[in-house]
Amino acid sequence: MSLAEPPVQRGQPDAALHRALGLTDHELGEISARLGRHPNELELAMFSVMWSEHCSYKSSRPLLRTLPTAGDGVVAGPGENAGVVRIGDGLAVAFKLESHNHPSAVEPSQGAATGVGGILRDIFTMGARPIAILDALKFGDPAEARTRHLVRGVVRGVGGYGNCVGVPTVGGELVFHPSYGANPLVNVMAVGLLEERDLTRAAAPGPGNLAVLFGSTTGRDGIGGASVLASATFGSGEGAAHGAAAKRPTVQVGDPFAEKLLIEASLELIGKRLVEGLQDLGAAGITCAVAETADRAGTGIEVDLDAIPRREGGMAPFEVMISESQERMLAIVRPERLEAVLAICARWGLLAAVIGRVTDDGDVTVVSHEGAGQELAEPRELARIPASALTSDAIVYTREARPPTHSRRAPAPGAAVLPQDGLPERGMDPGAVLVSLLGDPNLASRAWVTAQYDATVGSDTVEGNERAAAMIRVKGTRKALVMATDANARVGLLDPHLGALTAVVECARNVAVTGARPLGVTNCLNFGDPERPEEFWRLQEAVRGLGDACRALGLPVTGGNVSLYNESVDGAIAPTTQIGIVGLLDDVETRIGPAFQAEGDLVALLGDTAPGLAGSIYAEHAGSVPDDRPPGVDLAREAALLAFLPEAASRGLLRSAQDVSGGGLAVTLAECAMWGDRGAALHVSVGSAPAAELFGEGPGRVVVSVDPTRWTDLQALALRHDLPLRRLGTVRGDRLRIKLTGEGATGAAEDRGSGVADEVDEALAVLRHASQSGLPRALGESG
C-alpha cells in the first residue's frame, strides 16, 4: 500500500454534491470534523447512506436509549442483528421485526419479498435457523384500485419468498386505514431457533482475518438515495447523459432460491465453527456490513474493491460500495479456514470471494488497483473512514417535539353528536352489527391472504394464521414458542402513547392466552417526518408508551427497527407502533386454544376495562362517537393477566381462552364459537351503553371457557390474582345467543321507542359466512 498523496486531494467533490446526496451543510461539517479533512466523492456517498435515517437512527436513537433492554435470559439485545433470548435446554430464540414500507409502495411484490429476505438474514446471521415469519400489513381503502394492486403484490411477495425458502408464514395482521393509502406498511417479523453455543456475532475480530463475501453478485440494484447520485455528475465528460441512464436505480430484486442456499451454507459454516463473525448485507450494502462488523470488534477492514464480484461492468466505486443487491453475506474468516469456507460455499453453488482483510487501524479503507482504465502496480486508496464515524459515532439529532394543536378529532361542524350509546337509538340490531363487524376487512378472516402462505413447512406448526398468536413446537423438547404481532393505529391516531401501550398489552395477552410466558419484545416504529415537531412528538410519545408498558410487564425490548418519513401529500400515516412478542410454553400439551371445546362448558369474561368506543372499528362504522378518548390501559391488571393465564393453563383450569380486542366482546365470542363450531347461550349486562359493552375494544379482557367442575378452582385463582371473573353463560347448540340484560337492555330501549331486539341470536353459519366472505368481497376478489 502506498499513499503517495494525502487523501484530501483525491476526487474533491463539487460543493453541492453533499446536498444532492441528502446531507445537510451541517452534516458535511460533522463529517469533515470526524475525518479531519473534506471527504471525497466516494466517502461522501458512503456517509450519505450510513447517515441516512434508515441506517443511523439519527432522530430516534436518543429515544430508543430510554427503553428497558435487560431481562432474564437475554443473550443479545438491541444493536445486534436480532434479539436472542434463552429458552432452556441450551436453546435460544432469535426474533426481530423490520419494515420494508417504501420499497413496497413502489414495487409491492419485490418490496415485500426483499423485506422477508432481509429479516430472515438478520435471523440466520445470528446462527439461528428461521422457523417462522409473521407479516403485519397496513393498507388504505380496500375499495380503491391502487390498494388492491398493493395488497395483491405484497401478499404475492411475502408468500413467494417465504414459501420458497421453506420458512412457514404463520401469523400477522392485516389492517386497512385511510392514512396508509399512499404509504402502505409492510412490517415482517422473523423468528429463529438456535443452540446457544452457535450464537454468532456480526463482528470482525482479529486483524489479519479475511473478509469473505458470498452469495449473489453485486449490481446496480437498490442503490440508496441513488436517484440523486445518478443525476449528479459523477465522473465526467463523454457519455454523461448516457451514464445517468445507466446509473438509474432499480428496486432491489429478491431471489429466494439464492436465500435458501445462503441459509443452508451460513448455518453449515456456523455449525462447523468456520467463521469468526457473520453479517448480512442490507441497506447500504458492503459499506454498512464492513463498518458495523469492524466497529463492533474495534477493528478496521480494508476492502479490495476489485475483488468484489460484479453483476455488470462499468460500475463506479460508490455503486459497488453502497449497492443493495440482495442475498449477500459477509463472513470474517481465519486464513487457515478459508479453504474449508470456500468449499462449503461451492457445494451450495454460491459464489464466494475474499474482498478484504481485518486491520487494527479502526478504519474502513477502500483500495483498488484500477486507475484511469489501467492496472496499477500498487493499490490506490480510494477512501478511508473511521468505522465508528459511519456507525456508533454517526450524527445524532435532538429533534424538536411539539404536541399537535388538534390531536383530538372532534365531530365535523354540524354533525349530529350521538349519545355514548349508538345502538338502539339508531335502530341498530346488535346481531346485524355483529355480522357487519365480522365482515369488516379489518376483522374478517384473513384466509384469502394466508391461503397463499405455506404455514406448515418445517413440521412444527401447532397453530398458525387464523389465530391471534402462532405456535411452533420445538422438536426434541416439550416446549413450544408462541408469537404474535400487533399494533393499534386507530388508538395511536388519537393518542400515540396509549396506542403503543395498547399494542404491547394486546400482543402480550395474545401470547399469554395460549398459556405461554412472554419472553421479550421487538418493535417497528412507523411514523412520519421527524423533522416536523408534531410528528416527532408522536414518535416520542409512542416510545414512552412502549417503555412504560415493557417496564410494567417486566419485558425486555430486545431489538427493533424505525421507519420514518412515512408520509404522502395526504399527510403522515397514523402513528403505528408495531409490536412483536415471542413467548415460551414449557409443555406444549398444556396449550390453550381460543375455540370453545365442549357443550356445557361455562363461558366467562376475565378482567374488565374502562368503557369507551373511541378508536374502535365500531366507531368507524357508526361514523362518529362523541368521546375521542380511547379506553385506557391498566398496566397492573395486564401484568396480573400475564401471570394468571400461564398458571391457569398449566393447572388445566381452562378449556379455551381468547383475548378481547378488535370488534370487542361480541366479535371475540363469535370467534370462539365459529372456530369451535359450537354455539353459546350468554347473558351480558349492558348498563346504559350496550354498544360500548358489546363492541368497545378496551383492553384487559379475556374470554375463557371452563369445565363446570373446575369453575370454583378458576374463581379462586382469579381472586388470588385480583382479577374479576364474570360468568356469561354456557357453550351450547349451533347459534350464538347473547341476551342483553341490565339498564340498557330491552325494557329501557322499548321505553325509548326502539323496537330493536336487545339480543344477538345468529346461526354460526351466518357468522362464518360473514367472516369468510368479508375480505375477498372488500378486495373485489372471487374468494
Binding site: 421453506g166 418445517g458 413440521s459
Partner: protein, 227 residues
C-alpha cells in the same frame, strides 16, 4: 428399511421427510443431488421445495441432477420411489410417473388442509390405510393442477393409476383433472402426490394421517423380507 431423501438445492421439505421417516421407524438419511448413488437406500423420497428455484419450470432442472440416474435405476429394479409435491413434479418431468403439473386454477399459491380418498389399497404405498379412511393432509403449492390429455386420463384410470383424489367438503384445491392428487406408475413402485404426508406426522401438528403411507412402505418391506 432404509430411506434416502434427496436434497436438491432449493429442497425445503427434506428435513420434514427425514423427521417423518424416522418417526415411522425407518432408518433415514439425506442424499445429496450430486451423489452418483443412493447409499443403499431401499426407499427413495424426492421431497418438496423449489429444486433449483423451480426456474424454467417446476422440476424441469432437477431431473438432470446426477442422483436422478440412480433414482431411475432404482425404479427400474422395482425399488419404491415416493415424490411429494416438488418431488412429484420432478418425477413427472423425469417421466417416472405420467402427467404434468400445471399452475393452480386460481393462479395463486395454495396452502390448506385437504382430504384425500384412497383409490387403491393394494399398493406398497397404501396397504396400511384402513378401508374407507380419508386422509387429512396439507397442500402447499403453486403448480399442482394435474393434467393429462383425455384419452390418456381414461387409460390411467383404467389401469388403476390414480392413487389419491381430493374429496370431501374441502374439495379440489387446484383444478386437477378428475380431482387427482396422486398417481402411481404401472409397475406400482413409483408414486407422486401433491399433498404432504410427511407434514401430517403427528396429531400435535393437526393430523398423523400421513404416517399411514410410511407405515405401508414399512409393512411392504417387511413382507418382502419375510418371503
Amino acid at each position: 428399511m432404509k430411506a434416502g431423501i434427496v436434497v436438491f438445492p432449493g429442497s425445503n421439505c427434506d428435513r420434514d421427510a427425514l423427521h417423518a421417516a424416522r418417526l415411522a421407524g425407518m432408518d433415514a438419511e439425506l442424499l445429496w443431488h450430486e451423489d452418483p448413488g443412493l447409499r443403499g437406500s431401499d426407499l427413495v423420497i424426492l421431497p418438496g421445495g423449489f429444486a433449483y428455484g423451480d426456474y424454467l419450470r417446476a422440476g424441469a432442472l432437477a431431473r438432470f441432477s446426477p442422483v436422478m440416474r440412480a433414482v431411475h435405476d432404482h425404479a427400474e429394479r422395482g425399488g419404491p420411489v415416493l415424490g411429494i409435491c416438488n418431488g412429484f413434479q420432478v418425477l413427472a418431468e423425469a417421466g417416472l410417473v405420467p402427467g404434468a403439473l400445471l399452475r393452480n386454477a386460481s393462479l395463486r399459491f395454495e396452502h390448506r388442509w385437504v382430504r384425500l380418498s384412497v383409490e387403491r389399497r393394494d399398493t406398497v404405498f397404501t396397504k396400511a390405510i384402513p378401508a374407507g379412511a380419508a386422509l387429512r393432509l396439507p397442500i402447499a403449492h403453486g403448480e399442482g393442477c394435474y393434467f393429462l390429455p383425455g384419452p390418456q386420463l381414461d387409460a390411467l384410470e383404467a389401469r388403476g393409476g390414480v392413487l389419491f383424489r381430493y374429496a370431501g367438503p374441502e374439495g379440489n384445491p387446484n383444478g386437477s383433472a378428475r380431482d387427482i392428487a396422486g398417481v402411481i406408475n404401472e409397475r406400482g413402485n413409483v408414486c407422486g402426490l401433491m399433498p404432504h404426508p410427511e407434514r401430517a406426522s403427528e396429531a400435535l401438528l393437526g393430523s398423523e394421517d400421513g404416517m399411514l403411507l410410511f407405515r405401508s412402505l414399512l409393512e411392504s418391506a417387511a413382507a418382502v423380507a419375510a418371503r
